[in-house]
């Protein structure tokens, strides 16, 4: 489910490369090499038909708060009605923990109090936990080739020296996880006996956002890294971001690709950069047997993709 998205594509590829699964790629639109079906991921009846004969479901559907809620209701509702409820690996998010700070493991309350997305992610996890054969994966910041935000837009902002060392505003922890690690965790979750459980999925000792920007900038050769002042960030939020929005609207009206436009820096990104939360991933390591791609190798793969003309 969500097989055409950034994570979904990697999961489909990983499943197809395995010797134990045949992937069926389900999304709003067709495409890809694997068997593909077109489904409305928020429609229970449509999903019920698609789930027939499926042993395991990976739910990578992304969207706004409303989509997330309706998708969770539809997926788990449709699966519950099957005679043999299949294993569902549900891609949640660290956003479900909301404003929690410090080291956070899977027993932490799902505060979901950051914004509508965080609230919907928490609600979807609650829905998933009520389903007996679900495994919930809560990734942190999923980066890697084709990551639209964390490897593309951040790269463009670093190349333009609009992002850099944010000082105190970048002291939050960046719970990075490479998209290939997420795909691997999905494959492990499909086969783990630990159903009905959640797993945090992120590198164990995350860098701060400042460190992430520094290391990614180095991999991109977008150096020297610039110190971004509070004054400059205020200009970004109050002047540049609205201007970008206007450009985006203009481009859409003109039928042009808005992805080529300069990306805005949004308030939620700055909030995230200051958020001092560390995902505790001990459980994913011990129960699922997860191992992680070294950060420098992961960042280099993202930088190579970007410098090779990448775009999602």
């Amino acid at each position: 489910m969500g097989a055409a998205g950034f994570i979904g594509r990697r999961v489909v590829a990983a499943l197809s490369a395995s010797d134990w699964a045949a992937a069926v790629a389900a999304s709003r639109r067709t495409g890809g090499a694997a068997d593909a079906v077109v489904v409305d991921a928020t429609d229970e009846a449509s999903l019920g038909a698609a789930f027939s004969g499926i042993d395991g479901i990976v739910n990578c559907v992304a969207g706004d708060g409303d989509t997330i809620r309706r998708n969770a209701d539809a997926v788990f509702g449709a699966a519950s009605r099957l005679n043999q409820p299949p294993r569902i690996v549900h891609l949640g998010s660290m956003a479900a923990y909301g404003s929690a700070v410090g080291r956070v493991d899977e027993t932490a309350p799902l505060l979901g109090d950051l914004d509508e997305y965080s609230k919907a992610k928490a609600a979807a996890d609650v829905r998933a936990l009520a389903y007996p054969a679900a495994v919930i994966l809560r990734p942190g910041i999923v980066y890697g080739p084709q990551s639209p935000w964390w490897s593309d837009r951040i790269a463009r902002l670093l190349m333009a020296h609009r992002l850099g060392d944010l000082g105190a505003r970048g002291d939050g922890y960046c719970n990075l996880v490479h998209v290939d690690d997420v795909a691997r965790s999905v494959l492990l979750a499909l086969r783990t006996p630990a159903a009905g459980q959640a797993f945090n999925v992120a590198m164990p000792s995350p860098p701060t956002w400042n460190e992430y920007f520094q290391r990614y900038a180095r991999a991109l050769r977008a150096v020297p890294l610039r110190r971004i002042s509070a004054r400059r960030l205020a200009v970004e939020l109050r002047i540049v971001a609205p201007a970008c929005k206007l450009l985006e609207i203009g481009a859409r009206l003109a039928g042009a690709r808005s992805a080529a436009l300069p990306p805005p820096i949004r308030p939620w990104l700055l909030k995230l950069c200051a958020h001092e939360i560390i995902l505790d991933v001990a459980k994913a390591q011990t129960v699922l047997g997860m191992q992680w791609m070294p950060l420098d190798a992961g960042l280099q793969s993202a930088a190579d993709w970007f410098r090779g003309g990448g775009r999602t």
Binding site: G102, G164, D165, G167, A168, P224, R227, I228
Partner: protein, 551 residues
């Protein structure tokens, strides 16, 4: 969290595991290191979040010779963040030789070598936001960086060591949010320590008296105490408490307050380099992590040993600003801007020298002769210093004639006659005021004059240019602006013998089982290096001692 004395009722007793006095570079670094350690930390700060004249006035005192030392309320700040609110940000570690007992430097030798601080320097470097702990050009760059003078390798000096620059980072502004959020740290503002109360045997610190300028009185009871109030104030606090030990705490052998060092610094000579303009580079480079760095000429350690002189570095510099004979529009612009440049920086730009009307006119003439240069420079300083979060560190003027002066920074020898003591005057809280009697020795003059002579020899020997200087004027030049401002070292020196030191190798006051000092007061010798990075590394080492139960 960050609290104020007014959050507590009069007479309240604050309890904690560790009490740190002073929220400056050392105190804040320690508190950060102790976050989530399970240790309950109280961090007392005399001032508030911003500058407050009444709090700052508590630093007032006297100096023996105003030509040789600035007033004690200058170059240090009594507020949250301490003197990091005004510092210049120049960073480099001490050199291994600085820790050695050198027979040619009286009273030299630390109770440990640089390897004791090496584990803490990288973190100190991160705290001051000076990037990677890489202090040679080869370590800092993965590509060849511009040499100071292409192809030049002087026999007595190296030119590959770097200075790295902090933003300069104000620790209060930068790290206040971390202290606010930490559940085991309580910062209390406007909390002036006025009394250190020992047990009857004088071996254990029982409690502190704390007062605010508005009359609120508190007590503090902690298991362990750290004074991190600065190189002058730590000595003052210990000297002022004499109810159990008649000469002050930690002072049975009259060592406290003595051996006061700053650095010896000055600008001398006229160096003409006979090389193409492009072969000479005396400005800043920027590392990949966005840090300004600059090369300097450093006297080789083996040369120091062979010559029997102290540690010494020198930078290529612009001619003295005050003399309009330089005919440089930018330098004259700086002269004319003297009224808006803060005292701490203006002193070495203008030296407080009074200028006659004719001098002012000549400077105006210089500016008029190069208005574009002056405007470009002003714009650069406005955008890259005034507006920038990471500030361009200092004034760099590219000489079109390859003509420079030499800006040196030299180790000052420890000298028991150079000292701080208490006067009969008292501040608004009844604490005795400080008197500073800073002195230099013939050994200090010797270090500077012989180091410059060695450099002059190198220049002649290699035929890279010519250095003209008046050797007879060196002593005057090295004291023209007095002791280097803001570096307050050695007043409570570290050592193994209580007869010649105040604290032991773990920074604990001899004979007191729970009182520690953080900061440059504990430095037995001064190095050529600016002290902030090393005092932070030392403070981090002490914080780890506290965490791991070694202290």
């Amino acid at each position: 969290m960050i609290l104020d004395v007014t959050d507590f009722s009069d007479g309240h007793v604050l309890q904690s595991d560790v009490c740190i006095v002073g929220a400056g570079a050392a105190g804040i670094a320690m508190a950060l290191e102790l976050i989530d350690s399970g240790i309950d930390v109280l961090l007392l700060e005399s001032g508030g979040l911003g500058a407050e004249p009444d709090a700052q006035a508590l630093y007032q005192g006297t100096v023996q010779n105003e030509q040789l030392h600035s007033p004690p309320d200058r170059y240090r700040q009594r507020r949250f963040g301490g003197t990091t609110t005004i510092w210049g940000g120049r960073c480099m570690p001490f050199d291994p030789i600085d820790f050695e007992a050198r027979d040619y430097v009286p009273h030299s030798g630390w109770p440990f070598g640089i390897e004791e601080l090496s584990p803490f320097y990288p973190k100190a470097n991160r705290l001051v936001e000076a990037g990677a702990f890489a202090y040679t050009a080869e370590e800092a760059f993965d590509r060849p960086s511009r040499p100071m003078i292409a192809g030049w390798s002087p026999a007595h000096y190296t030119s590959n060591t770097l200075e790295r620059f902090s933003c300069p980072t104000d620790f209060g502004t930068r790290y206040g949010h971390k202290l606010r959020a930490a559940s085991n740290i309580r910062v209390v503002l406007h909390a002036n320590v006025t009394g250190l109360h020992l047990n009857a045997a004088g071996t254990h610190l029982d409690s502190l008296s704390v007062r605010s300028l508005k009359g609120r009185s508190l007590s503090v009871r902690a298991s362990r105490y750290v004074l991190a109030a600065g190189g002058l104030e730590n000595a003052r606090l210990l000297l002022a408490n004499r109810d159990v030990h008649a000469q002050g705490i930690g002072n049975p052998h009259d060592v406290l307050g003595r051996y006061y060092m700053c650095h010896i610094a000055g600008t001398v000579g006229a160096l003409k380099i006979d090389r193409p303009l492009d072969d000479v580079w005396h400005g800043y480079d920027m590392t990949d992590d966005g840090i300004y760095v600059r090369r300097r000429l450093a006297l080789r350690p083996e040369v120091q040993r062979a010559s029997g002189i102290g540690n010494f570095i020198v930078r290529l510099h612009h001619p003295r600003i005050t003399d309009p004979a330089h005919r440089n529009a930018i330098l004259s612009l700086l002269f004319l801007a003297k009224l808006i440049i803060p005292y701490e920086y203006g002193k070495r730009l203008h030296g407080g020298e009074s200028a006659d009307l004719q001098t002012w006119f000549r400077h105006m003439g210089n500016v008029a002769s190069g208005p574009l240069d002056a405007a470009a420079f002003a714009w650069h300083m406005f955008t890259q210093r005034a507006l920038a979060a990471r500030k361009f560190p200092s004034i760099i003027i590219k000489s079109k004639a390859n003509l420079f002066s030499l800006d040196f920074h030299s180790e000052q020898q420890p000298n028991p006659q150079s000292r701080v003591s208490l006067t009969g005057d008292r501040d608004a809280l009844g604490m005795p005021r400080l008197k500073v009697d800073w002195r230099y020795t013939s050994g200090d003059v010797d270090t500077v004059s012989r180091a410059i002579a060695l450099l002059s020899g190198d220049i002649n020997e290699t035929k890279v240019g010519r250095l003209d200087y008046d050797a007879s004027q060196l002593e005057m030049e090295m004291t023209r602006y007095g002791a280097y401002g803001g570096h307050h070292l050695g007043t409570a020196r570290m050592g193994t013998d209580p007869r010649s030191s105040v604290v032991n190798a773990r920074c604990r006051v001899h004979g007191i089982d729970n009182l520690f000092l953080a900061g440059a007061a504990t430095f037995p010798t001064s190095s050529q290096a600016n002290p902030t990075l090393t005092l932070i590394a030392l403070a981090l080492r002490l914080a780890n001692d506290l965490k791991e139960g070694r202290a």
